[in-house]
């Protein structure tokens, strides 16, 4: 019996588990980690944000805070507001991230989230306009990773969706005489979220094996990753395969089918949590 060390030969150690169709943490190849989500001021405790959510995917912890501010719309799109997502990977979440300007992973994740919002049309920018050409909402969505254990993109998309569902925007009217805006904090409306995109990430091992929801260790050993974002109608909002081992069309189709199944589970979870915090 040869002794295979997890630290000395991590790949060999993993291969032994993959041969038995399971992983060191006891999960099957197609099994997700326990997902928990906390939404809102009481549970999530960002009291200054307009909407907030905390998502835990196993050990990966991501918090999203949404702040709404007023601004003048851009000259070429006078009836559109703005949504500005920003993903931060501070040095507290993992050893590999140093403090300083955002690294490539954080910037790529920010671009991915911006693309998901745009592609899925979960919030239509015209909905954020208050007065065409004069006033519109800007939603600053800050997604901060508190503990990085792989699968950042899934957790971030989930946290963003949950936080946006929690946002309550005060009603704003423009005073005809003075031309100034008046914000009524007593009257709040939720955002109109048209679509609910959910991301599912896979790691590719040795060019053939696909495992779902990789941990940080698995991501380091993997030869490639694929992230599929679907919405409730089964439409693809994003197929994100940044390089890595080549996959056939059939394998990609397999990922998409699993992503659609995952979407249903996540949607059920979000609906349950939203219902539990809405005051009756």
């Amino acid at each position: 019996l040869s002794i295979c060390s997890r630290t000395v030969e991590p790949l060999e150690y993993y291969r032994r588990f993959l041969k038995e169709n399971c992983r060191p943490d006891g999960r099957e190849l197609g099994e997700f980690r326990t997902t928990t989500v906390n939404i809102g001021k009481c549970l999530c405790s960002i009291t200054t944000a307009d909407g907030s959510a905390l998502v835990k995917l196993g050990n990966t912890t991501v918090i999203c805070g949404v702040k709404a501010e007023l601004a003048a719309p851009a000259a070429d799109s006078a009836n559109k507001g703005y949504i500005v997502p920003n993903v931060e990977l501070p040095s507290l979440c993992a050893e590999r991230f140093r403090s300083g300007p955002p690294g490539e992973e954080a910037q790529a994740a920010s671009q991915f989230i911006a693309d998901v919002i745009e592609n899925s049309q979960m919030i239509v920018k015209e909905d954020l306009c208050i007065a065409s050409g004069k006033l519109a909402w800007v939603l600053y969505c800050d997604i901060i990773c508190l503990d990085y254990d792989g699968n950042l993109l899934d957790a971030s998309v989930f946290a963003l969706l949950a936080a946006l569902k929690n946002v309550q925007l005060p009603s704003v009217t423009i005073n005809e005489e003075t031309g100034l805006s008046e914000v009524n904090l007593k009257q709040k409306n939720p955002l109109n979220i048209r679509k609910h995109p959910v991301a599912t990430s896979f790691a590719v091992f040795d060019d053939t094996l696909l495992i779902v929801d990789p941990t940080a260790e698995e991501e380091d050993l993997a030869t490639g990753t694929v992230t599929i974002v679907t919405d409730e109608e089964g439409r693809l909002c994003s197929v994100h395969k940044p390089g890595g081992s080549p996959l056939t069309g059939a394998k990609l189709q397999d990922c998409i089918t699993r992503a659609i199944t995952r979407h249903k589970e996540v949607k059920k979870l979000i609906d349950k949590v939203i219902k539990s915090i809405t005051p009756k």
Binding site: G243, T248, L252
Partner: protein
């Protein structure tokens, strides 16, 4: 330099050269991609594209043959008239070919635009990209036409994506033919 239509990207490859101690990897070559836009400083979009290109190149370059070295790929956008990402991919592959780096396979970039009426358009212009419902970019490998990289903008159904992928795989043959001709022309003179 690769220019399909009016989109033009200049690629320069440096390496395998000595790597800085902070960046070197003990068992393989460290690949770095820099994408410079035509105007302005590189932003978040460029960083995300650099990551796509870098991981695509890492999948084909046999880095284990050159451990502790650095390979730098610098791409400069000269003009953008649509299908920019696939142009960058093609430029990157040709630069890797020209430099003579050991590769496991070649790859090519193909952009598909899904128009509002459902027709698939390959290699769209900027105008066609704006009108399209969805734009899908694939990097197809030369071995068995597998998918190396996929990036989508806009939403589409699963069937549409599979149709675009099939169309891209067929188009890849034309591009690989172009690679072969270019390389043949280059080496026939000298």
């Amino acid at each position: 330099s690769v220019s399909p239509g009016d989109t033009s990207v200049l690629a320069g490859l440096y390496g395998p050269a000595e790597a800085k101690v902070s960046k070197e990897l003990p068992d393989r070559a460290a690949l770095e991609v820099l994408l410079r836009p035509k105007v302005g400083l590189p932003g978040v979009m460029e960083r995300s594209r650099e990551q796509l290109l870098r991981q695509t190149c890492e999948a084909v370059v046999l880095g284990v043959l050159h451990p502790r070295t650095a390979i730098s790929l610098v791409l400069q956008v000269l003009s953008d008239a649509g299908s920019l990402l696939s142009c960058c991919l093609n430029a990157a592959c040709m630069a890797l070919l020209d430099a003579g780096l050991p590769l496991a396979a070649l790859f090519c970039g193909v952009t598909c635009a899904l128009q509002p009426d459902g027709t698939i358009l390959l290699d769209p212009t900027a105008r066609q990209e704006q009108e399209a419902r969805a734009i899908l970019t694939f990097a197809i490998a030369s071995s068995e036409r597998k998918v190396l990289m996929a990036n989508t903008k806009g939403s589409c159904s699963v069937e549409e994506m599979q149709q675009c992928l099939a169309a891209a795989q067929r188009a890849a043959d034309t591009i690989f033919g172009f690679y072969r001709d270019s390389v043949r022309r280059r080496y026939s003179k000298s």
